[in-house]
Amino acid sequence: METSGFNQRHLLGIDHLSASEIDLILDTADSFVEVSTRNIKKVPALKGRTVVNLFFENSTRTRSSFEIAAKRLSADLINFNSSVSSLKKGESLKDTVLTLEAMNPHIIVIRHSAAGAPRYLTTFARSCIVNAGDGFHEHPTQALLDALTIRQRFGKLRGLKIAVVGDILHSRVARSNLILHQKMGNPVNLVGPPSLVPLEFERMGARVFYDLKAGVKDVDIVMMLRVQEERGAGNYFPSIREYRRLFEINAEVFATAAPDAIIMHPGPLNRDVEIETSLADSDRSVILQQVNNGIAVRMAVLYLLKGESNEAAH
């Protein structure tokens, strides 16, 4: 497979990628989509390499998606799960990573509640670092799998209009998608209550809407974000009831989007809070396709990074 043109040692965020590198990841992912349709869903690309899943936040889909991706590439994989609270008591992140690195892994996939934690790892670790979500900062593989899904549906990734709806302030998915679509030249609408959608995002090139109908009008992609009740929703909006009334996407509102528009959600869903359950299950919804594409995209990322550049260090 052609891998020239990908000069990243780590995947820390979409911000660090060029548009052509994004295209390359998605092209690579396309070929891995095919692998996943085979009877034997395994290629030897990363045979003999070790991937560490280092998750400091709860995650099922992202962690298992990376796990399957690594295994389908024939890599060895270990899972290291830790709640941040237990980490606070004992070992520092640096010591944890140095300990794991003493076992010579090639790639460390990290999810952490603190923004910048993956970047911090690159200041001392030898492995390739893949950001699987850092605080409110970035979740690059989510934006990439979203992009793959969009490309499959529309046959292109450029010339599309997108609306992202919900808790933009606390969403790494929103940030990574915003950055990705700006690199592709796509207009991005951010929709939600002002307390969750700072106007400063307009200085990043987005348009901010407080009215759902206005925000999704004529867009090709409606991306709903999970209402994160664990973030203390009450501080940012008065009640789920009022939030639902203003920002839940339903068939009626969705009808104002472009005729062939799709609806996306990074999951997990709050059915009938941010998304009407019948809409989530309709043929306009690509939510499960997103999950499925997660594997191919993560295979592509692991494959392109390979842990090759640190070979000399070992």
Binding site: K88, S92, L93, K94, H112, S113, A114, A115, G116, A117, R119, Y120, D134, G135, F136, H137, E138, L169, R172, R175, P198, E200, F201, R203, M204
Partner: protein, 428 residues
């Protein structure tokens, strides 16, 4: 022991002198200042030709960490850092363990500092017991023990009623209340300046308003109380404007700014380097320029480092988990001279005002901040023609969390003289 400093250019805003003179020191006191003095027999002579002699610099906001956090800094390492950086006096904040909220802690700090014998250490005591913001400390007793001001630094006094009472009560002591202006209900769990950068890099922000509402509150209270109010580490241009307005309306208020807020902006945090994690956070370039203008036009009275040492391990962490604070005792003089004086934003005379005359006046240190016959011989001697480079290996501080590491430029401390003793000479 006699010491004669010959041929130096004395810059002393207090006595409005900027001239080449000789300074005769006898014991710990300045004996004579004359255009030409001949050394007496047995008198040590420092040839200060080409050097600038200033009243000893006073850093009115440092954390020496002792008692309680001696792993970060001790009084010994702190005063070594002070004289290495050209400071003859420092005022240390009360957030030690135990808190400096009673006379025994104040006296302990002074006794320890005296034993070290390098820089003068003036303790700032707490406003409230345990820094809890509930009951005011025994301010008169603390003052009698040597406290030079009161502050709940790090924890702003959130109760307007309590700060009112503290301001009123300490009026009889003629000592300042030093407010760390931060509305904690606004700043919350914030890590960096709130704005485009905090949103883009996914970190909780601290609005400018967190500082400004307290600055405004305190100024309004002070308008009636007319006590002594000092606002420390001002970081926003709006706060500078509020202070400028207050001063023009005759409200007694003074303020300081740190070198890092004067010389750095929020863009530094985009690499998540914890050395730039400070409180208040590094602000926008517009705020920085507003602050520099405040220093230039007299709104800001002092430059203070907020020297906040932390261990290497404490700072070697995820940005979110690292403690706030940067050290500055050993970089402030050089970076301020090089970036503000050499660039002609402020004069050398103004720099001395900001770093000696004014902090001494604000802390009511009647003998300091001046080069006057009969007063203690505290002098900072600068060599403006020598290059500096800030590097960790040279630090006397235990810590290395300095945001000016690797900075280079012109202007070094040549000698630091405290009480007539040369406590630092470059080349040492």
């Amino acid at each position: 022991m006699k010491l004669l400093i010959k041929n130096g250019r004395l810059v002393d805003p207090h006595s409005r002198v900027d001239d080449t003179v000789d300074i005769q020191i006898d014991g710990s006191v300045i004996q004579n200042i004359q255009p030409r003095l001949e050394p007496e027999k047995g008198c040590r002579v420092i040839d200060a030709a080409g050097l600038v002699v200033c009243p000893g610099f006073v850093d009115m906001h440092v954390h020496l960490r002792e008692p309680g956090n001696e792993n970060k800094e001790t009084i010994q390492s702190g005063v070594e850092a002070a004289v290495h950086g050209g400071f003859t006096s420092v005022a240390c904040m009360p957030n030690t363990k135990p808190v400096n909220d009673n006379r025994s802690v104040t006296e302990y700090i002074i006794a320890r500092a005296r034993k070290c014998g390098l820089a003068n250490v003036f303790p700032v005591a707490a406003i409230s017991m345990g820094l809890e913001g509930k009951n005011i400390t025994e301010m008169a007793d603390l003052a009698a023990g040597g406290a030079v001001g009161f502050s709940d630094d790090g924890r702003c006094v959130m109760s307007a009623d309590l700060i009112r009472k503290a301001l009123e009560y300490c009026r009889m002591l003629d000592l300042p209340i030093i407010e760390h202006p931060e509305d904690h209900s606004i700043s919350g769990e914030g890590l960096v300046n709130e704005g485009l950068i905090s949103y883009k890099y996914g970190m909780r922000g601290i609005l400018n308003a967190a500082e400004e509402v307290i600055v405004a509150r305190d100024i309004i209270l002070q308008d009636r109380i007319r006590s002594r109010l000092h606002l420390t580490h001002i970081s926003t241009s709006r706060a500078v404007e509020l202070i400028r307005d207050a001063k023009s309306n005759g409200i007694p208020v003074t303020a300081d700014a740190t070198p890092h807020h004067l010389l750095l902006n929020e863009e530094k945090i985009t690499t998540y380097d914890t050395v730039y994690k400070v409180k208040p956070p590094l602000r926008t370039e517009a705020d920085r320029l507003g602050l520099v203008e405040g220093v230039r036009d007299g709104t800001i009275d002092c430059i203070a480092s907020d020297h906040a040492p932390h261990t290497r391990d404490e700072k070697d962490k995820e940005f979110e988990y690292a403690p706030f604070g940067a050290i500055g005792l050993e970089s402030t003089v050089s970076v301020i001279y090089d970036r503000l004086v050499r660039t002609r934003i402020i004069s050398l005379n103004r720099m001395v005002e900001l770093m000696s005359t004014n902090p001494a006046r604000i802390l009511n240190l009647k003998d300091r901040g001046q080069v006057t016959r009969g007063k203690p011989a505290d002098l900072t001697v600068l060599d403006l023609n020598r290059r500096f480079s800030i590097h960790e290996a040279a630090f006397r501080s235990k810590a290395n969390n300095c945001p000016f590491l690797k900075w280079e430029g012109m202007g070094k401390v040549a000698f630091t003289i405290v009480g007539g003793k040369v406590v630092y000479a470059s080349g040492d």
